[in-house]
Symmetry: C2
Subunit: 109 residues, 2 copies
Amino acid sequence: MDGWVTQLRKGLLEFCILNLLRRGESYGYEIVRKLQPAEVLAVSESTVYPILSRLKQDGCLKVRDLPSPGGPPRRYFALTASGRARLAEMNAYWGELTAELDRLRKGEK
Amino acid sequence: MDGWVTQLRKGLLEFCILNLLRRGESYGYEIVRKLQPAEVLAVSESTVYPILSRLKQDGCLKVRDLPSPGGPPRRYFALTASGRARLAEMNAYWGELTAELDRLRKGEK
DNA sequence: CCCTGTACTATGGTTTGCGTAATACGCAAT
DNA sequence: ATTGCGTATTACGCAAACCATAGTACAGGG
């Protein structure tokens, strides 16, 4: 069960982070905190930071550094136009996927 | 988008196969066919067979071989008690996960 | 001076899906 | 008779994502 959860999260976390950033820019450490209370989605920094780097690399996010009140400067990430388009595609696919899975779980036909 | 779909499927396919077998035994080739029309879940044999092997290895499935009307003998897989328990846990976790994700996607608080 | 909380970076392992290819059986058509 | 197609399984190897672990760095309180 434990390993399965890890596998299930592949791709999903990227999806979560994009959805989180839809509301406005944020930085890695804060994103970890925002996902913490969810429990089923709780992750560590070593998971979030690589995802942010990849999304920026892919042109889905843009970055700007601002000083922090305590600690290294914060790297704020925000969605680009390309990122918003990507998120829209993902949301559409996710909708189909969950619909299909619900059909599988309840005893369809 | 394409690579993302591959990542999203990790763990999910195992979940789908267990749900499929809940209705009764089946064999690899047939499972591939049953998932085919779903589109969002369509996979090839090279994906399904390793999953079945692993599930059997983990004690979630039991196997019996029966002759095929054309081709090598079919390996029929069926859920064990342990498999049913595992599936129940997965279904519970999946419920929490989709609920949390829906909350993230709609602009909750 | 040490410890806690904040914030980011780097490395390596484990697992999974999937492309590719090989094997094997039966039946129909050329 | 041989070719091809649908059925059915097995084996090898790659790429990507999550995550544990560890390390760096700054500010403020005891």
